[in-house]
């Protein structure tokens, strides 16, 4: 049963991801991407990482995608107003992204090591375990540094927002 | 110049911190709505229960019959003369032999029309009437889609012969009599 659920979610995520790329209407693209996020969140739940699944939904589907949709709706892009790109642009875009793909596959090919079955801990995704890992043992320093990074970004955003008044 | 003593000078003063968080103001507003929540409302369930009309209420006119069922109106035209809105028109006719049951006097109104769009329901017609034939009642004039429908002829104005179709105007009648007596006493 596990396998079939995995398969369903995987197929949904791949199809919606493709639809997101090929959809002509940007708003449809965003909505397909949200479906993809749901399928991925489902995979997290299958791995017993409910915390990650829910945070994934809250942050990506609930906040970031809402902002995307917000901007797209304001811009009101649609098939008619989309600028027609010449073939040169299309070819160069395909070449660039193809090169990126080659680089990533080359870099990651030998790096990915799937964890052995014995190594897999089912309770690893639970909030208590995750919290202890982040705040207590393994990842304290990276976590705090990320926090500082966010703080810097926040201060920067406030400064950008305030600029008109000061100058 | 001050017209009322309720006017209030608007001051754009800076609000204090307690005022700026609005919690007190919100609590006050909620208290007011809560008081209204438990207050007894004075709504009438209109078609089921109706308010009583005051004796001075003036609505849809009625042309009375006497005790035998004969029309009291003699088409003297005093009501039409008294009418400030010129809403009343009538055509007089002579009573034929054999019509004594229908009309009380020798002359009667063959056509009697009140234009309800012109009528201002002032009640001067009933005061002018020497025969106590016309009265304003507590019935409300119904609405209509066309102007023609508001010109009420005798079919809409004269009360029925049968006892249950009679329109009771005793309260109104008494009120007018008192008014007339008071006017006479004043002179």
């Amino acid at each position: 049963m596990d396998f079939y659920i995995f398969l369903t979610l995987a197929v949904i995520s791949v199809i919606t991801a493709l639809l997101m790329v090929f959809a002509r209407n940007p708003v449809h693209s965003v909505l397909y991407l949200i479906l993809t996020f749901f399928a991925i969140a489902g995979q997290y739940v299958m791995l017993n990482a409910q915390f990650l699944a829910v945070v994934h939904i809250i942050v990506y589907a609930g906040a970031i995608m809402v902002l995307f949709l917000f901007v797209l709706m304001l811009l009101n892009l649609n098939k008619d107003s989309e600028p027609q790109k010449s073939n040169l642009w299309k070819i160069s875009g395909a070449i660039t992204s193809g090169m990126l793909l080659v680089v990533m596959v080359g870099a990651l090919r030998n790096q990915i090591q799937l964890p052995a079955a014995a190594e897999y801990q089912p309770d690893r995704g639970l909030p208590a375990v995750l919290g202890r890992m982040l705040f207590d043992s393994e990842f304290v320093v990276p976590f705090e540094i990320t926090g500082i990074l966010f703080l810097a970004a926040m201060v920067g955003a406030v400064l950008v927002g305030k600029r008109e008044i000061k100058v | 110049m001050q017209l009322t003593n309720r006017s209030k000078n608007v001051v754009n003063k800076k609000m204090s911190f307690a005022e700026r968080i609005y919690l007190v103001a919100i609590a006050k507003g909620m208290w007011i709505t809560l008081k209204h929540f438990f207050r007894k409302n004075n709504t009438y369930n209109y078609p089921d229960t109706q308010r009583t009309y005051a004796p001075v209420y003036r609505g849809w006119h009625v042309l009375k019959r006497d005790a035998n069922g004969a029309e009291r109106c003699t088409a003297c035209g005093l009501c039409a003369v008294a009418c400030p809105a010129e809403a009343i028109t009538m055509t007089a006719a002579e009573r034929e032999r054999g019509e004594e049951k229908l009309y009380r006097e020798e002359k009667y109104a063959a056509v009697y029309e009140i234009n309800m769009l012109r009528c201002i329901f002032c009640g001067l017609c009933e005061e002018a009437c020497p025969k106590e034939a016309i009265f304003l009642t507590d019935r409300i004039v119904p609405s209509d889609y066309v102007r023609q429908g508001f010109i009420f002829g005798k079919d809409m104005l004269v009360e029925g012969v049968e006892p249950e179709k009679r329109v009771d105007v005793s309260v109104r009648q008494k009120h007018i009599q008192e008014k007339k007596q008071a006017a006479a006493a004043a002179q």
Binding site: D2, L31, F51 | G29, N41
Partner: protein, 344 residues
């Protein structure tokens, strides 16, 4: 290895029954909230409210339902067909999903079998609710955009920015509770508030922030800018009619019910009540007490709606970003200090 391998048919049937009951109750409460809303509004304005359908208008929701179903189902010519149809359904779905993690009571013993009165005791319960609440805006956005009407679009845009702004303060005020209780599970939170030892006594500021944000997330007055009649003629549901409109309006009441349930559970002890020591009565009285609390909060929602005027948009943003979020962070710091000093 995962949840899905442990498949227990008896449990499955029990859960299916529980889900059906919870769903039915949710819909019933939402339906009668529409009646309650009109009655509350009427009483506060010294009127009678619905009184023709049944005694005191008690059959009004059914009459409304019949009206909604039999009205013309209109669709604008230029609308995005599928999104236009999908939007009310999505909104309703998300609203109804939220009630899955609410603990309605302790255990009931039915036929010598203990039955937990909770559909799913997720160890991330409160986050689950936050997640689904944040998804609620998609229904509004899709509906507003697909209608192809500028007022609807305005409503959708307002709804989305408002949701994002108030979610932050809501999350921050919840974090303070999580710090205090040390758990994300709503069931744990309810267990930790026995008798009258409720979280509200420790988190008054947090409760206030949470409550204001809940009003905003439900799009209730004074935060109903997404649909304000006077400016946007109904906002995101301007172009909707018939049962699609009914879904939008109905989901709002479901949202109200669920947020009342969450407020009762997180801050007001859920099914706990002072006085009676846990006995056989407790299992039955608990859900009733919880529902009493929920109805009280639904009443407060309505009370506020018929008292306070709508915010202006800049005031809304000002309140969200410059007042509630700093206050929530302050509340978080104070809670952290309290936990540090008193928990040992």
């Amino acid at each position: 290895m995962s949840l899905f391998l442990l498949f227990d048919w008896a449990l499955a049937i029990e859960k299916i029954i529980l889900v059906s009951v919870v769903f039915a109750i949710t819909l019933g409460v939402a339906a009668y909230s529409t009646w309650g809303e009109r009655k509350v509004a009427a009483f506060m304005q010294d009127r009678m409210g619905p009184s023709r359908a049944g005694w005191g208008g008690i059959l009004q929701p059914i009459a409304d339902g019949v009206k909604m179903f039999t009205k013309e189902d209109f669709m604008p010519n230029q609308a995005e067909r599928w999104l236009y149809i999908l939007a009310p359904g999505a909104f309703m779905f998300v609203a109804a999903m939220t009630s899955a993690v609410i603990p309605w009571g302790t255990e009931l013993t039915i036929f010598d079998k203990p039955v937990t009165l909770q559909v799913a005791d997720l160890n991330i319960g409160i986050l689950y609710i936050m997640g689904f609440v944040s998804l609620g805006v998609y229904g509004i956005m899709m509906g507003g955009w697909a209608s192809n009407n500028k007022y609807s679009l305005y409503g959708a845009i307002r709804a989305s920015s408002q949701m994002i702004s108030y979610e932050l303060a809501m999350g921050l005020s919840v974090i303070a509770v999580v710090m205090m209780t040390g758990t994300l599970s709503l069931k744990e939170m309810a267990i930790q508030q026995p008798g009258i030892n409720w979280n509200i006594w420790y988190q008054p500021l947090g409760f206030l922030i949470f409550f204001v944000c809940a009003l905003a997330e439900c799009n209730r007055a004074p935060f109903d800018l997404a649909e304000c009649e006077t400016e946007l003629i109904g906002g995101y549901h301007t172009e909707y009619s018939s049962m699609k409109l009914g879904f939008f309006l109905f989901a709002e009441y479901i949202n109200m019910f669920v947020s009342s349930a969450v407020i009762s559970t997180v801050y007001f002890g859920g099914y706990n009540f002072p006085g009676i020591d846990p006995g056989w009565l407790y299992g039955f009285a608990g859900p009733l007490v919880l529902f009493a609390k929920i109805f009280f909060f639904i009443f407060v929602f309505m009370w506020i709606r018929w008292t306070l005027p709508r915010f202006r948009y800049d005031q809304l943003m000002h309140l969200g970003w410059k007042s509630l979020i700093p206050l929530a962070i302050l509340n978080m710091l104070l809670t952290g200090l309290g936990v540090l000093l008193f928990s040992k």
